[in-house]
C-alpha cells in the first residue's frame, strides 16, 4: 500500500474539491434522505388523519394557535441565507489564502504532461472518452445530458413532491437522478482523479503511479469477435445490436415502469414517454458500455467510418 502516492494525489490543490466532494455528497444525500423520510412519514400521517391535514401547515409541525400562517421573507428567510453567505465567504477566503492556484511551467508542445487531466468538473467527460470515440463522448453524449436536463420539466408529469423532500412520491425521478448523478457522474470524476494514472492506466488507490508500468490488454471490437470483416456488415451488425438494445431494453423498462408507476404512465403523452425512454436507455447505455470494456475488453459495439459506439 503506497500511502505516499495516495497522499500526493489527495493533497494536490487541483484535487481538493474532489476530496471535499466525497463527504459532501454523502452528507447531503443523507440530509435529503432524512428529510424525505420525515416528510414521507408526515404524509402518511396526514393521509390517515384528515382533520389534522386541514390545520397542518408548514413543515413537519401542525399549525398551533397563535402561530402566523405565513412569515415574511425578511427577516425569517434572509437571516438564514445571509448567515450561509457569511459562512461560504469564510470558506472561500480561507481556501484562497491557504491554497494557491496550481500553476505549472509554461506549456511545452513537445512534452505534454502525463497523465494530462481535465479540470475536475470535466473529468467525467474525459473518462467517457475511454469508452466511446471523441465524437460520441465529446459531443453527442454531453448534448444529450444537457437536453435531458432541459426536458425534465416537460416530461415530468408527476405533480407531487414539489418544494419538499420526498421519496415515496417520486421514486422513479429520484432514483434516476441519483443513478445518473451520483453513480455515474460523481464516480467517473472520482475514477478520473484517483484511479487514472500515467498513460491513463487503471491504478487502484494505493498503487504507485509508475510511468514505466506496462500492462498487456487487447481490446477488440464486437464485430471482430464474431469475425465480421466487411465494413458494411460491421455497420449493419452494430446497428442491429444497438437497435436491439434500445428495443429490448425499452420493452423491459416499459413493463417495469408501467407496473410501478401506473399513474405517471397514464398521465404521459406518447412524445413525452418516448423521449423519456430514449434518454433513460441512453443513460443506461453508459454503464453497460463501461462494463463491456472493463470486464470483457470490448472496444466498440457499432463500428462505422463516421462514429464508433
Amino acid at each position: 500500500m503506497d500511502w505516499r502516492q495516495l497522499w500526493e494525489v489527495a493533497s494536490t490543490p487541483d484535487n481538493i474539491p474532489i476530496v471535499a466532494l466525497l463527504p459532501l455528497v454523502i452528507f447531503f444525500t443523507w440530509l435529503a434522505w432524512k428529510q424525505a423520510s420525515a416528510n414521507d412519514e408526515l404524509v402518511a400521517q396526514l393521509e390517515g388523519d384528515p382533520k389534522l391535514a386541514q390545520t397542518h401547515h408548514r413543515k413537519t409541525f401542525p399549525l398551533k394557535p397563535g402561530w402566523s400562517k405565513e412569515v415574511h421573507v425578511w427577516p425569517f428567510l434572509l437571516r438564514v441565507e445571509f448567515l450561509a453567505a457569511i459562512i461560504v465567504t469564510i470558506i472561500l477566503m480561507v481556501w484562497s489564502i491557504t491554497l494557491n492556484a496550481p500553476l505549472e511551467e509554461p506549456a511545452n508542445p513537445n512534452l505534454t504532461m502525463n497523465p494530462a487531466k481535465a479540470p475536475w468538473y470535466f473529468l467525467g467527460l474525459q473518462e467517457m472518452l475511454v469508452y466511446f470515440d471523441p465524437w460520441i463522448a465529446g459531443v453527442v453524449m454531453p448534448t444529450f445530458i444537457i437536453i435531458g436536463l432541459m426536458v425534465i420539466p416537460y416530461i415530468d408529469t408527476n405533480p407531487l413532491g414539489s418544494g419538499y423532500y420526498t421519496w415515496k412520491q417520486r421514486k422513479f425521478a429520484i432514483s434516476t437522478f441519483f443513478f445518473g448523478f451520483v453513480v455515474l457522474w460523481v464516480s467517473m470524476i472520482i475514477i478520473g482523479t484517483f484511479i487514472r494514472g500515467p498513460g491513463w492506466m487503471w491504478f487502484w488507490p494505493g498503487q504507485t503511479w509508475d510511468h514505466n508500468r506496462l500492462v498487456y490488454a487487447v481490446n477488440r471490437d464486437l464485430p471482430d469477435i464474431f469475425s465480421i470483416t466487411s465494413n458494411w456488415a460491421k455497420i449493419l451488425f452494430g446497428a442491429i445490436v444497438v437497435g436491439g438494445y434500445y428495443a429490448l431494453g425499452g420493452l423491459v423498462v416499459h413493463s417495469i415502469f408501467k407496473r410501478s408507476n401506473p399513474k405517471d404512465y397514464r398521465r404521459m403523452s406518447f412524445v413525452q414517454y418516448s423521449t423519456m425512454m430514449f434518454l433513460f436507455l441512453t443513460m443506461m447505455g453508459l454503464p453497460i458500455k463501461i462494463l463491456l470494456r472493463l470486464a470483457l475488453n470490448i472496444k466498440y459495439v457499432w463500428v462505422t467510418p463516421w462514429f464508433n459506439i
Binding site: L42, Q45, K64, S68, F76, R79, L83, M93, I97, N212
Partner: protein, 1128 residues
C-alpha cells in the same frame, strides 16, 4: 415522528444571535488573516528588508566609528597638517577678494530676483497676447480672413511692448517703471553680469578649492574602506527605508515583441549584494549569535570583479545563477526550487566549501570558450569540466558543439567536393548543348548570342567551382592533420603489444592501471575474448625494424629531463607524479621494445597510411604498383591509387621530441624496466587467432563504440554512439531515463546504498567506493533532477539498469569512467550549464574581435596540453612546476608565455611553432631552437596551417597586439653609437653574454638565456626595451636581473607638467656617453637588433674567459634571486 410540538413558532421565535456572533467573529478573523497574508506572508522579503536595515545599521555604526578613527589618524599626520596649512594659506590669501566678489554678486542676485519676478509674468502674458493676435483673424480652412484687422492688431501689440507698464521693486528703490522691451533687456543684462561674477568667483577660489581637494584626496586614498561622510550617507538612506521591491528590469529592445527580458527581484532580499562596503556573513550576524539564513543572504557578491564585467543592470542575476527572478512569495519560489520551475538555482556546496555547480551559469553564455581565464580563480570548476570532457574522451561517444569538430568538417568537405565535381560535369555537358544550339543556322543572332552568354557564364561557374575544390582540398589536408583520437591506434597492436596482455587489459583496464583514462566496460569473458580476437585478427601484420638495446640509466635521465613527465605520469595512487595522459608505470609488461623505440623516436609514424577515399590501409604493394617509393609524410600525403589525401600520421597528440636514435632506444630501454611482473607470465591467449570469434567481436566493438576513441580496422567511419550533450542541461527531466529509479529518486532513496550493486557490475567489490564518488555524498532528499541524474550516471553509468531484466545488447553501454567526486562535480557543472538559453544572441559570448582569436586559441592549447609545460595566465600551475626535479631549479622550466604575443614577431612565431628546432628541417635537430640550454624539449607538433594560424593569432590577441604585425626598422646605428652600444652590451657591470647563448658550444654549456642573434627576427623592439628595464614585472621570477637601468628624470617640456623619462645605464659609463640625451635602453635595443654574428663573436672573445664571479655583477645589479624561475 416527533409529536412534541413547541409552544412558540420555531421559525419566528428562534434566535440566530449566537451563530451570527460566531460567524462574524470568524469572518473578521479571516479578514485580518487575509490582510496579514497579503502584507507579510506573501511578501517575505519585507522581513528580510527589515532585518537587513537593522543589521546593516548596526554594522554601519561600527564601520563609521572605525572609519572616523582612521580618518582622525590620517588627519593628524604631518602630511595632512601640511596640506591643511596650504589650504589655510590659500584661504587667507584669496579671502578678501572672494568676500568682495561675493558681496557684489549678492547685490546683482537681488536685482535679478526682482526683475525676474516681474519679467516671468510679463513674458507669459505677452506670449498669450501674441498667440491671440497670430490666430485671432486666422481661419484654419481659409487662411487670414481680415488682413487689415490683423495689421492693426500687430501694431497695437508692438506699441504695447513699448509702454512702461511694468514696475520693479528693487531693494532700496521701489516702483521703477519699465516697458516690456526694456524689461527684457534689463533681465538679460543682469544675467550676464551674474555669469561674470560666477566666473570671477571660481577663479578667485581656485587655489583654495584645489588645496581642499588635495586634502580630501589624501584621506580617501589612504582609507581602506569608505570615508565617514560616505558611510553616513548610506546610514541616512537606510534610516528612512520603507520596504519596497528592488528589481533589475532589463528591457528587450531587439526581439519582435517589446517587453522585459530579465526581471530579477533577487536584491529585494539579497540587499547587501552591491553595497559599497564588503559584507560578510559574520559582519551581518548580530554579536553573540551564530550566522543564520539572514546573515548568509545579506553578504556582498563574492566576486565584485565579475559584476564589473557582467553589470547587473544589464545582466540581472538569473542569467548566471538561475532561479525564478520574478518570484517574491517564498525562498523556494524565488530560488526556483520547485517542480515547475525548470531552471533551479545553482548552488555552492557550503558544507564542503567548494563552488558546487555554481559555475554552470558561465557555460550558458560562454559555450564557445574552452578556457575562462579570471584573476580571482572563478571558473576553475567549469574549466576543469570542459577539460575533463576532452581529456577523458567523453567526446568520443558524445557530440558536443565545439569539441572534436574535425571529423565532421572532414566529411562535410568531402561531400562538398563530390557535389562540386558533379556540378562541373553537369555544367560541361550543359555548355556543349548550349554551344550546339548557338551554332544552329536557323536561329537569330540575338538568340545565338544569348546561348553563348549562358555558356560563358557556366564556364565561369566551373572555374569558380574548381577554385573552391582546391580550397577544400587544402582544408581537408589540414583537417586530416588535426584529427586526433583519445586512444591509441589499434591497427598496430600486432607490432606493438604483448598479445597475452590484451584480454587482461580489455577485461578491466583499471585493474592493470588504476589511473588510466580508459573506462571500464563491464565486459564478460566472451565479450573480452571476441573483442580481443577481432582486434588481433584485423591488425596490420607488418613488423617494425629491430632496434638495438639502449642504456636504461641514461634513458631514465632523459625521461626525467626532456619533459616526458609533463604529459605522462609514473607511479600509482599517492605515488603518482606527472601529467594527465598515459601512465607508464607498467608499460614494460605490454609493449614490444622495437615498437616503443620507433614510437619514442616519432610517435606520428604509422605502419601504413590510411586512405579515407578507398577506406583502406595502403601498403608497399600499392606504392610498388605505381612505381613509387614507400614514403608517406607531410610532403608525400597523396594516395598512390587515387591521388586523394592520405592520413599519413598517427592520430595521437603526442609530438615528436626530435631525439636521436640512441636517445630513443635509451628511453625505451628504461621504460621496458617499468613493470611489476614478467610479460611472459601472462596467460596464453591463443584463442585470439580463432576466426570464429571475429564476427562476434565486431558486433561488440560496434555496440560499445570502441571506435570513438581508437582507430580500428573496419570502423574508420563509425559515428558517435552516445547522445549529443550540447544542450543536455535543458533537457526536460522526463526525457532522462531514470527507469525503475524514477520514484525512488523522487522520494530521495539513494541507490548506491544498496549492497546489490554487484549484480549490475560484477567487479564492484565495495558499494562504498561508488557511494564515495558522489560529489555531495549520498542523496539527502529528492534527486529527481538533472543534477541528481548526472551525478549518479557519472558515478555508475549503468545504475539506471537497476532492477531491469535486459539482454547483453540492451544494457546501458556507457562505461564506468572511474571519476573522483571533484571530477564528477566539474563535469556535472559543465553539463548543467549546457543549455539553450532564452536570452537573445547578444548575451552569448561570441566576440568578433581579437577576443575571438583568444577563444579559438584556447581550444588548440588545451587540445595539445600546452599548459602542462607553459604558463599562459598568471598563477596558472603547470605540471612540470610541481615535479620534484624542478622545485630547486626553476630556471630549468620552460618559458612562461604570459606576454608572448607582445614579445615575439608573429611571423617568427609561426616559423618556430612549425619547427621548434629552427633548423629548417635539417637532420641535426636534436635540440631546442631558442633555448638550447634547457633540457626540457619543445617538441614538434606537426600542426596544420590552420592550427598554427590559430595559435599565433591567439598569442597576439592575448597581448592585444594588432594583426597583421608590421615590424619597424630600427634606425641604423652610427659608428659612434655602435661603439656606445657595444660598451653597454659588454659592460663589466652587466655582461650580457655571460648568460645569453652565443652559438659557441663551450660557452653555451653554461648559458641560461637565448642567443641575441635571434632577437632581430624574433622580438618586438618595444617589448625588448620594456624587458631590459624591468624583466621582473613581465615575467616574475625570471633570472634576468631588473635594475640594469635607472630613470633620470628630465625637466618637463611645456605645456606638459610631468617630467620626462630618461633611461640611463645603472653602472659606470665610458666618456663617450657624455652629452648623449637619448634613452640608453633604446640604444642597447637598437644595438642588439643590429647585432651581427661577427660583432657578437668579437665581443664574446673579448670577454674574460674565466667568467667573473657574481660579485662583479652585483656591483650594478640587484639580482632578485629569491623565487626566480622561468629563465628567459
Amino acid at each position: 415522528m416527533a409529536t412534541q410540538i413547541p409552544d412558540d413558532d420555531p421559525i419566528t421565535s428562534k434566535s440566530y444571535a449566537l451563530p451570527y456572533l460566531i460567524a462574524s467573529v470568524v469572518l473578521i478573523g479571516t479578514l485580518l488573516w487575509a490582510l496579514w497574508d497579503e502584507n507579510y506572508a506573501q511578501r517575505p522579503w519585507k522581513a528580510y528588508q527589515d532585518e537587513f536595515v537593522h543589521r546593516y545599521s548596526a554594522f554601519l555604526k561600527t564601520a563609521v566609528s572605525q572609519s572616523g578613527k582612521d580618518q582622525d589618524r590620517l588627519k593628524n599626520s604631518a602630511e595632512y597638517k601640511q596640506l591643511e596649512a596650504d589650504y589655510n594659506a590659500a584661504v587667507a590669501t584669496g579671502d578678501a577678494q572672494v568676500k568682495q566678489i561675493k558681496k557684489e554678486a549678492a547685490e546683482v542676485d537681488a536685482h535679478l530676483a526682482a526683475v525676474q519676478a516681474v519679467f516671468t509674468d510679463a513674458k507669459a502674458r505677452m506670449g498669450a497676447d501674441t498667440y491671440s493676435v497670430e490666430t485671432g483673424t486666422f481661419d484654419q480652412d481659409n487662411g487670414r480672413v481680415d488682413e487689415k484687422e490683423h495689421v492693426k492688431q500687430v501694431s497695437d501689440l508692438n506699441q504695447d511692448k513699448q509702454k512702461p507698464n511694468y514696475e520693479v521693486d528693487y531693494p532700496g528703490e521701489k516702483g521703477k517703471k519699465y516697458s516690456y522691451v526694456q524689461l527684457e533687456e534689463k533681465y538679460n543684462e543682469l544675467r550676464l553680469e551674474k555669469a561674470d561674477y560666477v566666473t570671477r568667483l571660481a577663479a578667485a577660489m581656485k587655489p583654495q578649492n584645489e588645496a581642499k581637494a588635495k586634502m580630501d584626496q589624501y584621506v580617501t586614498d589612504r582609507l581602506t574602506s569608505l570615508a565617514p561622510a560616505q558611510i553616513q550617507g548610506i546610514q541616512q538612506k537606510y534610516e528612512s527605508w520603507y520596504p519596497q521591491i528592488r528589481q533589475v528590469n532589463v528591457l528587450d529592445t531587439t526581439g519582435p515583441i517589446p517587453g522585459s527580458l530579465i526581471v530579477d527581484r533577487c536584491e529585494s532580499c539579497h540587499m547587501g549584494t552591491r553595497e559599497p562596503l564588503t559584507l560578510t556573513a559574520a559582519a551581518m550576524t548580530p554579536s553573540g549569535q551564530k550566522p543564520d539564513q539572514y546573515s548568509r543572504a545579506f553578504v556582498s557578491h563574492p566576486s565584485p570583479e565579475l559584476l564589473q564585467i557582467h553589470d547587473p543592470e544589464r545582466f540581472g542575476c538569473s542569467p548566471c545563477h538561475n532561479g525564478n527572478g520574478r518570484a517574491t512569495t517564498s525562498m523556494e519560489k524565488a530560488h526556483g526550487e520547485y517542480e515547475h520551475w525548470l531552471w533551479p538555482l545553482y548552488h555552492t556546496d557550503r558544507k564542503r566549501g567548494n563552488s558546487g555547480n555554481i559555475e554552470a551559469g558561465c557555460q550558458t553564455c560562454h559555450a564557445s570558450d574552452m578556457f575562462l581565464a579570471t584573476n580571482s580563480g572563478v571558473g576553475a570548476t567549469i574549466n576543469e569540466g570542459k577539460y575533463m570532457f576532452q581529456l577523458r574522451g567523453c567526446m568520443g561517444c558524445h557530440r558536443y558543439e565545439g569539441y572534436d569538430r574535425e571529423p565532421e568538417e572532414l566529411t562535410a568537405a568531402t561531400q562538398t567536393i563530390r557535389q562540386l565535381e558533379a556540378d562541373i560535369k553537369d555544367n560541361t555537358h550543359q555548355i556543349e548543348i548550349l554551344r550546339k544550339k548557338a551554332d544552329d543556322p536557323n536561329i537569330s543572332n540575338q538568340e545565338a548570342e544569348h546561348y553563348n552568354q549562358l555558356a560563358e557564364a557556366l564556364l565561369i561557374t566551373n572555374s569558380k567551382n574548381a577554385g573552391q575544390i582546391e580550397t577544400l582540398d587544402l582544408r581537408s589536408r589540414s583537417l586530416l592533420r588535426d584529427v586526433k583520437k583519445i586512444g591509441p591506434n589499434l591497427k598496430e597492436i600486432r607490432a606493438k603489444l604483448n598479445k597475452n596482455w590484451i584480454p587482461v587489459w580489455i577485461h578491466k583496464p583499471t585493474d592493470f592501471r588504476p589511473s588510466t583514462r580508459m573506462p571500464n566496460f563491464r565486459l564478460n569473458d566472451d565479450q573480452v575474448r571476441s573483442i580481443a580476437a577481432y582486434l588481433w585478427q584485423t591488425a596490420i601484420p607488418d613488423q617494425v625494424q629491430h632496434a638495438p638495446a639502449g642504456n636504461a640509466e641514461h634513458g631514465r635521465d632523459l625521461f626525467m629531463a626532456r619533459g616526458c613527465m609533463a604529459c605522462h605520469s609514473v607511479g600509482e595512487g599517492s605515488q603518482m607524479v606527472g601529467g594527465p595522459y598515459a601512465n607508464l608505470t607498467r608499460v614494460g609488461e605490454k609493449v614490444s621494445y622495437d615498437y616503443l623505440v620507433r614510437w619514442i623516436k616519432n610517435p606520428r609514424q604509422r605502419l601504413r597510411p590510411y586512405c579515407p577515399y578507398e577506406k583502406k590501409d595502403i601498403g608497399p604493394e600499392d606504392y610498388a604498383k605505381k612505381g613509387l617509393a614507400y614514403v608517406f609524410d607531410a610532403d608525400h600525403s597523396k594516395c598512390p591509387n587515387d591521388g586523394h589525401e592520405l592520413q599519413w600520421q598517427q592520430t595521437t597528440i603526442m609530438p615528436i621530441l626530435r631525439l636521436s636514435d640512441q636517445d630513443a632506444a635509451d628511453i625505451a630501454t628504461f621504460l621496458m624496466t617499468e613493470k611489476t611482473k614478467d610479460p611472459a607470465s601472462y596467460a596464453d591467449a591463443s584463442f585470439m587467432d580463432d576466426p570464429k570469434l571475429k564476427e562476434t567481436g565486431k558486433t561488440w566493438i560496434r555496440q560499445f563504440g570502441c571506435a570513438g576513441c581508437h582507430e580500428i580496422s573496419g570502423f574508420e567511419d563509425e559515428g558517435r554512439i552516445g547522445t549529443e550533450l550540447t544542450v543536455e542541461g535543458s533537457k526536460p527531466i522526463e526525457r532522462l531515463d531514470f527507469a525503475l529509479l524514477t520514484i525512488p529518486a523522487q522520494r530521495g532513496v539513494e541507490p548506491f546504498k544498496d549492497p546489490g550493486l554487484k549484480q549490475l557490475d560484477a567487479s564492484i567489490t565495495d558499494s562504498n567506493i561508488i557511494l564515495s564518488r558522489l560529489p555531495e555524498g549520498p542523496a539527502a532528499g529528492d534527486w529527481y533532477t538533472l543534477k541528481g541524474f548526472f551525478e549518479h550516471k557519472l558515478a555508475m553509468p549503468n545504475i539506471y539498469d537497476k532492477g531491469k531484466i535486459k539482454g547483453d545488447m540492451e544494457k546501458l553501454r556507457m562505461p564506468d569512467p572511474h571519476l573522483n567526486p571533484e571530477q564528477i562535480r566539474a563535469l556535472v557543472t559543465f553539463l548543467l550549464g549546457s543549455q539553450e538559453t532564452s536570452l537573445p544572441d547578444q548575451y552569448q559570448y561570441k566576440p568578433q574581435d581579437y577576443r575571438h582569436d583568444i577563444q579559438e586559441g584556447w581550444w588548440v592549447v588545451q587540445k595539445y596540453g600546452c599548459m602542462n609545460c607553459h604558463q599562459f595566465t598568471p598563477g596558472q600551475k603547470t605540471v612540470l612546476m610541481d615535479l620534484p626535479q624542478y622545485k630547486d631549479s626553476p630556471e630549468k622550466l620552460p618559458p612562461k608565455l604570459l606576454t608572448e604575443g607582445a614579445r615575439v614577431d608573429p611571423d617568427w612565431l609561426l616559423k618556430f611553432l612549425n619547427d621548434p628546432s629552427l633548423t629548417g628541417g635539417k637532420a641535426d635537430n636534436n635540440r631546442n631552437g631558442v633555448r638550447p640550454y634547457l633540457d626540457v624539449r619543445m617538441p614538434t607538433f606537426n600542426l596544420s596551417p590552420e592550427e598554427l594560424r590559430k595559435l599565433v593569432r591567439f598569442f597576439q590577441a592575448m597581448s592585444r597586439q594588432p594583426m597583421p604585425y608590421i615590424p619597424q626598422k630600427p634606425d641604423v646605428l652610427t659608428a659612434k653609437e655602435v661603439e656606445m652600444g657595444r660598451s653597454l652590451f659588454s659592460s663589466q657591470a652587466a655582461p650580457c653574454l655571460k648568460c645569453h647563448a652565443t652559438g659557441d658550444a663551450a660557452h653555451d654549456k653554461t648559458a641560461t638565456a637565448p642567443n641575441f642573434l635571434l632577437a632581430k627576427e624574433r622580438l618586438k623592439p618595444g617589448w625588448a626595451e620594456r624587458w631590459i628595464i624591468d624583466p621582473q614585472s613581465i615575467s616574475p621570477g625570471t633570472a634576468m636581473p631588473s635594475g640594469l637601468f635607472r630613470d633620470e628624470k628630465l625637466p618637463p617640456v611645456p605645456p606638459n607638467t610631468e617630467p620626462r623619462d630618461h633611461w640611463v645605464f645603472n653602472g659606470p659609463l665610458p666618456p663617450s656617453f657624455a652629452g648623449y640625451t637619448d634613452d640608453q635602453t633604446k640604444l642597447l635595443v637598437r644595438y642588439i637588433f643590429q647585432l651581427t654574428p661577427e660583432e657578437q663573436r668579437a665581443v664574446s672573445s673579448r670577454m674574460p674567459k674565466a667568467a667573473p664571479a657574481a660579485g662583479a655583477k652585483s656591483s650594478a645589479v640587484k639580482r632578485q634571486a629569491a623565487g626566480s624561475s622561468g629563465a628567459r
